[in-house]
Structure formats: structure tokens, C-alpha cells
């Protein structure tokens, strides 16, 4: 069947370009992965070679499993990431709803105020944050991290979510009001379910920096029982001696959960940004 519209040459070129870029995107990741299964010597002798019977080694993974309680770190990272996302989404959505749904004096100002946070690196507020956590006794608890990440993620979340919420039909909210729903019920039972895709977008954008952050775990929760995975992997980067096998293994392992989270969110994400909010 001949095609009046599709040009096979174009489609070939499109795939060629995409495959080329996919290779560029994945090549360094593959380098990391294959090398995490090799001996140190093999890594540096031939970094591109696949693990062979001689060079294959799980030493890195063994070191990782031996050193520290890796499953606990895993769990901590997971708890912190998921809890922070939860609060970012909940609080962010609530604020976004207030800003987009109601006209009240100071609405615009409040919007601007909530956006200031993306313009200054939060890191410089470290000492004051740490003092706050010390005073409230939250140092070395996961709660401290969750609070910081929540605060850090809110500006972007409010920005994106309020764009989306403006698109939720007024009729729908009014129908709810006539049905006797309170403003809270309207938010939780109508609006939240409808902006789920937008929430996925926010979740993906926030999840990565939280999962990968090293600084705040180091400052706020360096204790053994509250260490995150990223902080835990730092053990292998010494002052003079770095255990590359272990670092590569730990970091390869650390990719997995984010990848899983990403895959979970990404279906929603595409639907979400497709509905045009971040235009």
C-alpha cells in the first residue's frame, strides 16, 4: 500500500536521529554499569570492555553489602523521597488551589512570595536551617530532611500546579458546591483527582534532586540510622583512596529505585504535561 502522507525517508531519518541520540544518552550509563561488574584493574585497563570471565567481579557489590547497612540506607532514601514528595504535592496543591481558585487581596503577592525560593540556592541557609533543626530536636531524624525538601520543592510545585488547577472546570467545582461539598471536599474529592497528571510532573521534577542530594543528609542527618543511600555511597570516596568498584556498584544500585519511580510516574507525566499546563 502506497502512502500519500508518510515519507519512508523521513521516518528513517527520524529513527536514525533518535537512535543516535539514545546512544549518546545511554553510553555513559552503560559504561558505569558494565564497569561496576569488573575488577578495578579491568576498569582502568579497558574501560569499554564488557566483563569477561577474568575481569568479571562482584567485589564492588560485595563491598557495598558489607559496609554499613545498605538496606537501611535504601529504606531511608525511599522514606525521605516519598514523604517529601507527598508533602510537596499535598501542601503545594493546597496552596496552588488557594491561589488559583479564590480572589483575595494579596493573591498575586503571595504567588510571588512563594516563587522567591527558586531564585536563591537554599544551601546558603544551611546554618540557620540546622539551628532550627537543633532547636526543634529534629537533627538526625528523617523528618528534618523531609521538611527541608518539602520547603525546597514547594515553589516549583505551586507554580506548576496552579497553572493546572486553573484548567479545572469552574462548572465542576460549582456542581460540587451545589451538591453541598465544602471547599475542602471540593479540593480533595474533585480537584486533586483531576490534577493527578500534574502531580506526577511535579513528582518527577522533585524526586531526582531529592534522591540524589548529598548535602542535607550530610548536615542534617548523618547518623548511621538516618543515612541516605547517596550519603552512604560517599563512604567509598576517601581522601586519597577511592574504592571505585564500590562507588560504581553503589551508584548503579541507586539508579534503580529512581528509575522505577520514574517509570511509575511517567505515564501520568506525559498525560499531565500533555494537557498543557506547563506551556
Amino acid at each position: 500500500m502506497s502512502k500519500a502522507r508518510t515519507n519512508p525517508l523521513n521516518s528513517f531519518a527520524a529513527h536514525a536521529a533518535l537512535i543516535a541520540y539514545t546512544i549518546i544518552a545511554l553510553f555513559p550509563v552503560v559504561v558505569i554499569l558494565i564497569n561496576s561488574f569488573k575488577t578495578r584493574k579491568a576498569i582502568f585497563r579497558e574501560p569499554l570492555a564488557l566483563p569477561s570471565p577474568e575481569s568479571f567481579s562482584l567485589i564492588g557489590y560485595q563491598t557495598v553489602m558489607k559496609q554499613g547497612d545498605f538496606f537501611l540506607y535504601f529504606q531511608n532514601s525511599f522514606v525521605v523521597t516519598v514523604a517529601s514528595l507527598f508533602f510537596i504535592l499535598l501542601f503545594g496543591a493546597m496552596a496552588a488551589f488557594a491561589l488559583s481558585e479564590y480572589r483575595f487581596p494579596g493573591n498575586t503577592l503571595m504567588g510571588l512570595y512563594l516563587a522567591l525560593g527558586i531564585m536563591i540556592p537554599i544551601r546558603i541557609g544551611t546554618v540557620a536551617i540546622l539551628e532550627l533543626m537543633v532547636q526543634t530536636g529534629l537533627v538526625n531524624t528523617l523528618m528534618a530532611l523531609i521538611l527541608v525538601y518539602t520547603a525546597q520543592g514547594l515553589p516549583l510545585a505551586v507554580f506548576i500546579l496552579s497553572e493546572f488547577m486553573r484548567q479545572v472546570s469552574d462548572d465542576l467545582k460549582n456542581a460540587g458546591r451545589i451538591d453541598g461539598m465544602s471547599e475542602y471536599a471540593i479540593f480533595f474529592k474533585l480537584v486533586l483527582p483531576l490534577v493527578r497528571p500534574a502531580m506526577a510532573t511535579v513528582a518527577v521534577f522533585n524526586m531526582i534532586p531529592i534522591w540524589n542530594d548529598l548535602w542535607f543528609p550530610l548536615i542534617l542527618a548523618p547518623g548511621e540510622s538516618t543515612k541516605t543511600l547517596t550519603l552512604g555511597s560517599q563512604v567509598f570516596i576517601g581522601q586519597f583512596v577511592t574504592d571505585w568498584n564500590a562507588v560504581l556498584s553503589a551508584l548503579s544500585l541507586a539508579i534503580l529505585p529512581v528509575l522505577v519511580l520514574y517509570v511509575i510516574f511517567s505515564r501520568q507525566l506525559i498525560r499531565g504535561i500533555t494537557s498543557g499546563a506547563v506551556k
Binding site: V139, W215, V235, F240
Partner: protein, 395 residues
């Protein structure tokens, strides 16, 4: 009611040693006191530690960087005065100097170890190429030339990407021979010598010649790259600090030797950088001060000295008590203490207190000089101007 002491440290590398040998030894001797060693990544250590001290969440025991970093903590009331610790008697004044107030009236950290600079070489490679260990500049470059001509090995493994290699393993390694160790260093502090004086420019002139002996693309070579190059047997000489010994022993499958920095002419007095590098102090806000002092007394003991120096060959005890070391390479390094004069790195005491920071500038200048981006003279002039801009004795 066990007390648990927490140690802040940048020594990720030592985690297993502390966990497997040092802490059990202490805990066995001191029931009721538990110790936790919680190192963080070295690059973030200072920033993280300062933040935690400011906010009051730091551990009981603080591993001390030498000189100003720790002095500032003591001045800020973060470190307790340990002058009255009886173990302090086990250390010489030189050993303690890195952790004392400028007037020497108070000592706030118990010295643990120093590191010595020199060159580690691949004995097999030397044997293969029929090379002798060089003692003078001339011999040194002759050896490098030979290795380069042969082409099997990269003459010297060092890169300038991380900058500090160039300064620490380059400038501070070979420099004392030119500025005559403590004599030059103290003269600089007093303002009697300038960085533009010959003894201070000469090491840069040496470094300027190194570039051609480093591996292809050394500009982008990082510190771990250099280590790997050498331990994989691809390079013949490695400008080193004694701290490499442990790692190299584990990784290299050839025999290694070491030689001290070459002197200008045969028979010249030799100087080595024997740098007081690591100590341990007490967080002034620690609620467990008593237990912590017990621990610090133990760190000052001969038992600890021997335990530590043998667990970490290359970190030489500063304790007056002689320590027997098993490692031949470590023995080689420490043997230079007998033949040469010891000094510490020139930029550490006092001179890096202002802006611009002399140590950082030295990193930058050393890397620039090796890369040929700056002439030794220009680099020295720039450093001198920077120093003079805030350091009165130099104005």
C-alpha cells in the same frame, strides 16, 4: 549508662581500621564508653563540620585539620583547650605547633600523624631500564629522560586537573630543598623573605620542566587517574605523599621503592616535608567531655601510636615514643627523618589566613606553571602581590 562518643572525621579511608582495630582496642580497655567513627566526604568535611558546630549538632570528638582551620574553631570557642591533658607531654613542640594558638599558650588537639613527601617508583621498571635512584636534580631529570626515550613507561604520573597534586606533591614536595626547610618558612612568615626570592621561585622553575614528562593529556588527569596509572604499572615514578602507601600496597603488583626529593647539587643538605596533618580535639559543647578526655588521653598514648601507624603505614606517629613499623616502604620514608631536616608545608601556618588565600593560590600557580600557562616568575610575582595585599610583615 554507657556513654557513646562520636568522632567527626574526613577520613572515609580509615573507616574499617577504626571499626575493626582501633575502637575495639579502646572499648576493651574502657568499658562503659562506646565510640563511633562517622567520617564524611573529605571535600565537604570543613563546610559540614562548621555548620554542625555552629548549630550545635556536631560529634564529641573532632578530627583536626592542621593550623588555621582548627585554630579558627578554637578561637570561636568550638574546640576545648586540651593543654592540661597529661598525654600532651608525649608530643614535641613541633608536633603540637599545628594545633596551638600563635603564641603557643594553648593546645587544642592531640596530634595523631604526619605525612612525608617524596617520590615512589616502580622498582621493576627501574630494574628493567637499568636506572639508578636519583639523588640530585640532574640525575632526576636524566632518569626521566631515559624513561621517556625508552617509551615503555610514562616517566611520571601526575595530573593538573585537581590542582592540589601540583602544589602538594609538586611544589611542597621539592620546595624545602630550595628554601631550606624551616629556615625559609619562618623567614617568609616574619617577612624576611619574599615569594619572589630565588629559593621560592626555584621550585617553580623545576615544576615548569615537569610538564614534558607527564602523560599525554595530563591537563585533564585527575588524582585517581594518577594513582591508577602508577599502580597499573604504566608510569615509573609517582610524586607522592606517604599516605599512598596503604593503597599502593594493596593495588600494585610490582615492587615499589621511594626516594626523597632530589637536591640541587650532590652533598647539599636535604630537607623533607614532614607535615603534621591530623590530630583530634574535643568539641567544647560536648556533653560527654569526661569520657572524651579519657579517649583523648588514650590517643596520646604509645599504644595508640603503634596501633595507628601500623594500621595506616604512611601516617607516621607524632608521639615521642618510638614506633616499630613493619612496612618496608613506610620504613623507607620514615628513615629520611634521620638524614634530612624536617619541615612542614610552607603555606599552612598563618600565611593562608587572608584573601587571597595563599594555599589556594599555590595550587593554582603550581598547576599553571606545569601546564606552561604562567612562567615561574609571573606566578611568584602574583603570589607575592596577593600575600602582601593583606599580610603586614610582607608589605
Amino acid at each position: 549508662q554507657d556513654v557513646t562518643l562520636t568522632i567527626e572525621s574526613w577520613r572515609n579511608d580509615d573507616l574499617t581500621i577504626w571499626q575493626d582495630s582501633i575502637i575495639p582496642a579502646f572499648e576493651a580497655a574502657n568499658p562503659g564508653i562506646k565510640v563511633e567513627f562517622t567520617p564524611s566526604a573529605p571535600a565537604e568535611y570543613n563546610a559540614a563540620l562548621n555548620s554542625k558546630l555552629d548549630a550545635g549538632s556536631a560529634g564529641d570528638l573532632i578530627t583536626c585539620r592542621p593550623f588555621d582551620a582548627s585554630l579558627a574553631l578554637y578561637d570561636g570557642g568550638k574546640l576545648a583547650d586540651l593543654s592540661d591533658l597529661s598525654a600532651m607531654a608525649n608530643f614535641s613542640d613541633v608536633a603540637k605547633s599545628a594545633w596551638q594558638t600563635d603564641d603557643g599558650s594553648a593546645t587544642f588537639c592531640v596530634p595523631m600523624a604526619s605525612v612525608i613527601h617524596g617520590f615512589i617508583y616502580n622498582k621493576d621498571a627501574f630494574a628493567e631500564l637499568g636506572l639508578e635512584v636519583p639523588a640530585t636534580e640532574e640525575e632526576f631529570f636524566a632518569v626521566l629522560d631515559k624513561i621517556r626515550e625508552d617509551g615503555t613507561y610514562i616517566p611520571m604520573a601526575m595530573g593538573t586537573n585537581d590542582q592540589w597534586e601540583a602544589a602538594t606533591m609538586g611544589y611542597q614536595n621539592i620546595g624545602p630543598n630550595y628554601w631550606k626547610g624551616e629556615e625559609g618558612r619562618l623567614a617568609l612568615i616574619k617577612g624576611e623573605q619574599k615569594l619572589t626570592d630565588e629559593p621560592w621561585v626555584a621550585p617553580y622553575a623545576q615544576l615548569a620542566r615537569w610538564g614534558e614528562y607527564l602523560g599525554d593529556g595530563y591537563e585533564a588527569q585527575t588524582y585517581p587517574d594518577s594513582q591508577n596509572l602508577f599502580t597499573l604499572g604504566r608510569a615509573a615514578i609517582y610524586p607522592a605523599g606517604s599516605w599512598e602507601i596503604t593503597g599502593f600496597n594493596a593495588q600494585a603488583d610490582f615492587e615499589m621503592g621511594a626516594f626523597p626529593p632530589p637536591v640541587a647539587a650532590a652533598g647539599d643538605e636535604c630537607y623533607i616535608s614532614d607535615h603534621t596533618d591530623i590530630a583530634i580535639g574535643l568539641n567544647a559543647a560536648s556533653p560527654n567531655a569526661e569520657a572524651a578526655r579519657t579517649f583523648l588521653e588514650w590517643v596520646g598514648s604509645a599504644e595508640f601510636a603503634s596501633l595507628y601507624a601500623n594500621a595506616l603505614p604512611g601516617f607516621f606517629s607524632l608521639n615521642s615514643a618510638a614506633v616499630e613499623m613493619a612496612d618496608p616502604l613506610a620504613q623507607e620514608f620514615v628513615s629520611w627523618r634521620g638524614k634530612c631536616q624536617s619541615t612542614i608545608r610552607s603555606t599552612y601556618q598563618i600565611l593562608s589566613r587572608g584573601t587571597p588565600n595563599l594555599e589556594n593560590e599555590t595550587w593554582n600557580a603550581s598547576a599553571n606553571v606545569i601546564r606552561g600557562a604562567e612562567t615561574p616568575g609571573d606566578a611568584a610575582t602574583r603570589l607575592q602581590e596577593g600575600l602582601a595585599s593583606w599580610y603586614e610583615p610582607q608589605q
